[in-house]
């Protein structure tokens, strides 16, 4: 799976958060983000609807020796 992140998206999403980035930054950020999103996409897609972030702490407590 590939995820293409455009430089325009990166520039705009950083701009609306008030970050003035170096001209070369959006290209590098877009490439890195695309690769990361592709790597995690199947795991995220397999998540059940009900999974909530706090389940981590419950599992952490449950998996003690």
């Amino acid at each position: 799976m590939t995820v293409k992140v455009s430089e325009a998206y990166v520039s705009e999403v950083l701009a609306i958060q008030g970050a003035a980035v170096a001209p070369e930054a959006p290209k590098a950020i877009a490439a890195a983000l695309g690769a990361q999103l592709a790597a995690a996409a199947p795991a995220y897609a397999a998540l059940p609807f009900e999974a909530e972030p706090p389940t981590f702490l419950a599992v952490l407590a449950k998996e003690q020796p």
Binding site: V5, Y9, V10, V13, L14, Q17, G18, A19, A20, V21, A22, A25, A28, I29, A30, A32, L33, Q36, L37, A39, A40, P42, A43, Y44, L47, A51, E52, P53, P54, T55, F56, L57, A58, V59, L60, A61, E63, Q64, P65
Partner: protein
Amino acid sequence: MAADITSLTLTEVAARIRTREASASEVLDAVLARAKAVQPKLNCFLRIDEELARAAAKLADADLARGHLRGPLHGVPLAHKDMYYRAGVPSSCGSRIKGREPEKTTATALKRLDAAGAIQFGVLHMAEFAYGPTGHNYHDGHCRNPWNPAHVTGGSSSGSGSSVAARAGFAALGSDTGGSVRLPAAICGITGLKVTYGRVSRAGAMPLSHSMDTVGPLARSAQDCAALLGVLAGADPADPAAAAEPVPDYLARLQLPVKGMRVGIPMSYFTDDMDPSVGAALTESLKALESLGCEIVPVTLPAEMTAFDVAGTHVIAAEGAAYHGNWLRTRPQDYSPQVRARLERGLALPATRYIDALRLRGHALAEFSKAVFAKVDVLHAPCIPIPTPTIAETDVGGSPSMDRTLALMTKFMRPFNYLGLPSLALPCGFLASGLPVGMQLVGRPFAEDAILRLGHAFQQATDWHKREPRL
């Protein structure tokens, strides 16, 4: 005599002070002399508070003369990563942004060390805002590896690793969000403990990623890490994530047998990109564990290990970017270009993916536990698969393979932050170049006692942790 003192471990020097074989002032003199001697070569201290420490040592000696023992670390001088706040004192966090105003609170970790009798004599170098795996710092100059100053120390707790390895401190606090205790411990040839998420309070420590941040010690041995964890661990109303799990007597539990302990070796992920010389040292460490009566068991890890690593990256990126949002808007020029670029990546991550990374976390831990801890007590893994790179190789524009080298340095670290599991990094050999090789022992949640016990047994049977760099 001074050299003898600085070569002692934390537990040994604490015993000498307690039994009055050495005074706190004598010990401090020896440590200060060593710190001043190595600082020009290693740049591991950001500040040495000589006068304050000398006054505190005199008080500690006076207390002991009156028969008052403050705690297990009475009179032991320590310096810490410059991100543990002390009220009235600025903390730079390795940056140009913080460090001008005195902090308003004292970190719980420092309060607990103070109550145990330790004396803080300085603050240690670190990667800018603890956001870098190598130890580079363009504001204060790079911290240097005591085994070879051309090589990186590992980060972000660079000064903690370098100073403790150089015998300019008996132990130090570091922090581990994506490997920042274990990398410098492994690379500098010392022992570092990344605790279970929530085992030690983070109150009063600089935040990077509240879902991943942990506070942990770097020291000369697993025994010293056990002594420090006993002081540091426990609930804290000032940190809602600090767990209320009971704190066992970690030092006493070191004496329990390791015979019959099942040690897992991963059949995937941690075998990727392994340099043969590093792999050979790890294989030898397994033989040592086997000779202690441990059973070595191959384990198949979940297929989603890479996704777990990336999800951890997403959590750190999003949370780090949020904490730094105001400064990224108002003072971007005050960050080094590298740290600024890392933080800006987090601004582009969709919120849904950050939440997905948090939603995946419980599933990831359950899957990992089912695959690993249903079969073994402890997982054995490498820290980094390659020989320690040089500072130049990992500098901006230093090498075409820089990005890949940095990725390899963190690949085996971050999954355990994401999974919240405790991991002990310790030396398990040296390369022909004279640089140390580190291994990780990873345990179940809150099973620091098990990995410390195994690490201690390993260090009773080997002497890698006793080797000192020539400086």
